[in-house]
Symmetry: C2
Subunit: 587 residues, 2 copies
């Protein structure tokens, strides 16, 4: 009779022996670089055996062996390892090297992940994963967890960038958000708050005590506070202004009075000003003292007692001069600046043109009132491109991401344009109603092609010119060179289009589908399309320039006007050429 | 008999007395702030008299009086003043205050300007003028001047930013360019060279001696040299590579091997690397030593001996720690980085998302190979927006400004799309040819409106989704929320469009123009347009997402496909609804 206890021990002994045997084989294969044999060995072993072997190896062999496993096996084995071994592996391999394995691990359910692995390893795994996948997983984990377990994830959140935390928070259940938000350390909380969408910001502010709100506001830069105020409803704004200190309140009111889209409205008032008689040493002392509170420190502004802007000094300039030199001896006094009322798009373009990190904003008396930084310029450039793309395609631009914009708002952004364009189609309807009796069926069937090609040819020209003007490459006074260029382009284009149109009618419509398009018919349509293209291109390039001259945004104005115009013109030309020039009436 | 000499003296005396009298009156009016009387006095005086008075005043009165003159008079008087007085005025008033006057002065012919005023005053005037006007004037002056006089303008050019000089050079006569370019000091010459267009760069390189080329190349950053090489013809590239030092040549070859549009292809290899055991003091010493040669110094990279990237330290971090602290104690080890093969658009978006000034680029072994700076990211974002706008509107994007692109190249960028779209209109032609016999004239006249509205509704949806995906706000897995949103929006939109269409046919076409659109006809067209809009919106939002899933640029793919699709669908729906549902045949 065998003792079951004994049997168990024997069984364990045998496993241990097997593992030891496996380990020795693996070690010898590894050292002799017999990778094919090693692979065969791995394929035959269970993941538990492999985990046991891995735990007994030194770091070098451990890494080598782990590297031989395919990603699925590696993930399975990794979860079984002891915490120290897991950490050793995470430290040994770089983020990129571990990425496939971490992805595989994260594909398992997050609860399992949390149960099977200690929290600091989970954190390491999450931090090594691809940001997109990582954020989704964290959302899942946070939504799954109870409050008391959130606290364990505090160190994980503290390791993330504010932009990523905001992305994660955007998908967290509403009632959990205020609790999780309070886990963030003070400064990170403020930075994250800035990146969140306005609905969530409002939710949080409503859940804050006055003291909590004050703490957040203290850590916000003035321009961010202004952005926040512009988004919030009146009662929230009142609370914000009450909690802001008087200095900040003054700056906020200052910025709020500038018109939307002006440099003043996007600037921040926090920047480092120096005096012209300061030495490099004194400058560095001042920068060190103020750096923590300023959005950017790399460009400093030299002003006099009245805050009149005298020059600019970069930290690079300071580093290139010795400690006892004076600022006035090397400051750049021929600098680029913006007016508070300069259009923000111009400011962004200037910043981009001169490769600056920030640009000073002065008031009418030439006194320094703030700066616009390159990250704001980037946002402006992206926004303006979105605006242009929207207007050109008949949508009023939205300042919120699509998925966060309400259905009714999207409706409002689209419906006016659709209606204007639909009603302006009255003209083409009238023309067709007038001439239709005279046009043969074959010619009427060509109308969509004629109008479509005219419209496309026109918008090709208008879009190129609109974009060129947005980038400051084309100015209104270039109108003659633009027209001359478009005339030459449209001649080339129209000849090709006319010829292909003729060929298409002969080959496709007549030969393949058997419609009786004679040579004369096809030639008439081809000639009509040629004239249509030339006229559309010239109209298309002129209208945006005229709009700009009249100080109307070319993108807004160009679209409905050019469409209506080219539609009507190409239809009229079509009727004129086929009926008048070629005499192709139905009669 | 009066001595003519005497008479002349008497005459001069009388002028002098008049001027003295004028001066006294002016002074008393100024001091008593009797501005109306002063204005009357000014209006009666000649510009010569005013100039004489101004020259005798102290700075305070001078400025006050000058400020009272309107801009035309001020300009006329200014030109008559002695050089010291001119300089005093230029120094007293800020650029903005002088702008109207300098504009007025510059509106006179440049040659007169050069003759009537000494060169250093001309320079001051030009530098105070609005950059746009200033650059044009400088072009005029340079084109007008003979070579030996260029030299006098050397100090003026040295005061301008490289981007402005490049703009000026773009309009200088070709044969004068190499001469004028040689006037620039060495470093400015290199910076200007980078900003010039490739035609002019080639012209210059061909005019350079090997030594001159070497000097310019020495001052270029590696990424700029790479851009240059990519633009130049083979024989020029050969010369450039021969003159570059071996270190640069190695870096160039390194960058050139990365695919177009990858992070590797836009990075620069010049950045400051630190070791983790360095103290703040040692870091600053290294930065000071290397700053002059590096494109950016504000973010430094901590690497080990193998160049493996361990962390990031900003100059701001360094300034916030004391001199004897070690880098490893405060470096950011959880940093954002890009792979050499990461798409440059993703790199730019990441840089923008995290508000970075530069982002490190690592190779497959996680070794630091370069950085991408924010100014390059700005260019990428602008370029990508232009690309999207172009593709959406059926133009192949150009990497050169419109005015610098040749006619034939513009033709090539436009013709394929026009032809594809024209030939795809075959489908609508077939549908019309099939159903036209059955459709009444009144219904055929509505076809452009039906197709136009369907097309516009579809492109509104597709453009919003395309832009949302470019900005990373919409991801392919959001497809269901996008469709659900578009369904709701399209229901709202279609009801409005259908109703307005019905009303328009009744009010405009029937009531005003007298076409016999009965209630039934109008209702049929209204219902058809409703269905058309709904289908177009859903197709419009799905196609870009499908394109992205298939790894095709949504902007390229979306346009021709969606246009053809919505045209055909709305036409079919129209025929189906009017003929099938409402039974409105011609018979």
């Amino acid at each position: 009779m065998t003792n079951p206890e004994k049997k168990h021990i024997l069984y364990k002994e045998s496993i241990k022996r097997e593992v030891t045997a496996l380990k020795e084989k693996i070690l010898s294969f590894l050292d002799d670089e017999r990778y094919e044999d090693l692979q065969a060995l791995i394929d035959n072993a269970t993941k538990e055996e492999l985990a046991k072997v891995l735990e007994t190896l030194d770091e070098d062999h451990l890494a080598k062996l782990f590297d031989c496993l395919d990603k699925e096996l590696a993930a399975d084995v990794f979860v079984l390892l002891k915490q120290e071994t897991q950490k050793m592996l995470l430290e040994h391999f770089s983020d990129i090297e571990m990425q496939e394995v971490t992805e595989e691990i994260l594909d398992e359910k997050p609860e399992e992940l949390l149960e099977s692995m200690p929290l600091d390893v989970v954190q390491e795994v999450l931090l090594k994963a691809d940001p997109e996948q990582r954020n989704d997983k964290i959302v899942e984990i946070l939504n799954f967890l109870e409050y008391k377990k959130f606290v364990q994830l505090k160190p994980l959140l503290s390791e993330l960038k504010p932009m990523d935390i905001a992305e994660i928070f955007a998908e967290i259940d509403e009632e959990k958000l205020p609790l999780i938000f309070r886990l963030l350390p003070k400064e990170l909380a403020a930075e994250t708050f800035v990146e969140m969408n306005s609905t969530q910001q409002e939710l949080l502010i409503r859940s804050f005590s006055d003291h909590e709100l004050k703490l957040i506001l203290e850590d916000l830069f003035v321009d961010d506070t202004v952005d926040l105020i512009e988004e919030m409803p009146a009662n929230v704004v009142k609370r914000i202004l009450m909690q802001a200190d008087s200095e900040t309140r003054k700056s906020i009111n200052e910025i709020l009075k500038y018109p939307k889209d002006s440099a003043g409205s996007i600037m921040t008032t926090e920047c480092i000003s120096l005096r012209q008689d300061m030495t490099v040493q004194q400058c560095f002392e001042k920068i060190r003292a103020q750096a923590i509170d300023k959005e950017t420190i790399y460009t400093c502004y030299v002003t006099d007692n009245q805050k009149k802007l005298l020059g600019i000094v970069t930290v690079k300039d300071l580093l290139l001069h010795s400690y006892n030199e004076r600022v006035e001896d090397f400051m750049q006094d021929n600098f680029v600046y913006a007016d508070t009322l300069t259009d923000k798009e111009d400011v962004a373009n200037t910043l981009s043109k001169y490769d600056l990190l920030s640009i000073p904003v002065v008031d009418q008396e030439n006194l320094l009132v703030g700066i616009v930084t390159v990250d704001d310029a980037l946002d402006v450039i992206t926004e303006e491109a979105t605006e242009d793309i929207s207007f050109i395609n008949a949508v009023t631009p939205s300042d919120k991401p699509y998925l966060e914009t309400g259905v009714f708002r999207i409706y409002l952004h689209r419906i006016p344009w659709l209606l204007i364009l639909m009603i302006s189609a009255t003209f083409t309807g009238l023309i067709l109603n007038t001439y239709e009796a005279m046009l043969s069926t074959l010619l009427v069937a060509c109308v969509p092609m004629i109008m479509g090609t005219g419209g496309n040819a026109g918008s090709q020209a208008s879009v190129t010119v609109i974009r060129g003007m947005a980038l400051d490459e084309i100015r209104p006074r270039d109108i003659l060179s633009v027209i001359w260029k478009e005339i030459r382009v449209s001649l080339l284009v129209s000849v090709s289009v006319g010829f292909v149109c003729f060929a298409k009618l002969q080959l496709i419509d007549r030969f393949i589908f058997g419609y009786p398009y004679t040579l004369l018919y096809s030639a008439a349509v081809g000639v009509a399309i040629m004239f249509g293209v030339i006229v559309a291109k010239i109209v298309g390039c002129c209208i945006p320039i005229l709009a700009k001259t009249l100080k109307i945004d070319p993108a807004v104005f160009a679209n409905p006007f050019i469409t209506t115009f080219t539609d009507v013109l190409s239809l009229l030309i079509f009727c004129g050429v086929t009926l008048g020039l070629f005499g192709l009436g139905t009669v």
